[in-house]
Symmetry: C2
Subunit: 212 residues, 2 copies
Amino acid sequence: MNERTISKAVIRRLPRYYRYLGELLDADVERISSAELSNKMNVTASQIRQDLNNFGGFGQQGYGYNVKYLYNEIAKILGLDEVHSMIIVGAGKLGQAIANYSSFSKRGFVLKGMFDVKPEYIGTKVNDIEIMNINQLSEFLKVNSIDIVAITIPKEAVSTIIDIIAESDIKAVWNFAPVDLHLPPDKVVENVHLLDSLMQLSYNLSEYEHTN
Amino acid sequence: MNERTISKAVIRRLPRYYRYLGELLDADVERISSAELSNKMNVTASQIRQDLNNFGGFGQQGYGYNVKYLYNEIAKILGLDEVHSMIIVGAGKLGQAIANYSSFSKRGFVLKGMFDVKPEYIGTKVNDIEIMNINQLSEFLKVNSIDIVAITIPKEAVSTIIDIIAESDIKAVWNFAPVDLHLPPDKVVENVHLLDSLMQLSYNLSEYEHTN
């Protein structure tokens, strides 16, 4: 099975399959047909079959899909069978929200540190993790092996940490700051631009109002 | 100029153009060539010209783009020339983070109310907005005209408010809860699924590690 040739569109749907299968597991559902899955997910059954065929199928004629098996296989494809160490730079509300999401640690994303510049945050704890001074970040990354950094600081502050991240062994950046990061090509970057998302909503809203 | 035939991919790039042009405006840049814009944004100059031609061009041969004009035109396309009233359901860290983003109100998204179930939140204020009991939501929506609701409650709680939203005059839902909402087709929905985004990052990370 060659995972390398799978289209990005399929990959983008996988977390959603994974989410649904997790809900089925929680509800003790052992198997499901592509028709039932299709009905639940608002995706055509043929789309589901096509998508899952990319990974060798998993389905059996007349039986459907084994929920637990499919769930675990998708987890492997998404790299969720491995533990990822993570730090959060920016201990404001958004950083704290991320630190508190139990669903992240359940999927193997383990918080190892939080950093901020604000004296009132430093030394306090969020979800048992002590917030450190951002000027300790460089040193921290030299002695700790960290896979992922979540960036939740204002865009003006990004320039103060971007070189430290660029030169570190961090592999992936989950960026919430509303700027495009310039990083070496060996760093994987995933952006969550909340304002862009809100503008998209605003566009669809005016679009809808003009056509109805 | 017919905006209705513009592809979704172009629309998805508009917030990013808007963001860059805003930065140029802040830096008092009056005009910019597609080559310079291309260089800054890591998009080809021909892509930029093509994208902006969808809206009648705005560029002049030998002059480039007038930054302020282009910024304002994109704002209109995105519906940012109108004021949108917004409420937030869920006053936890994420809801508070959204309430505190000054960049939202600057773009005309005006917070009118926040709701939660937790007694310790109710009556306290975030960014001058008093947090109300969620059982007042239905009544609030009958007497206030609200365009957008941001949903920042745990997925288990969504079922307690979804009917209220479905029956209200709310036009758009900005959904952060990790569930797919089932709403009448006249509601515009924009999802921000943080766990999906983190899984995408995780996939790209393992993908990168396997190929390098």
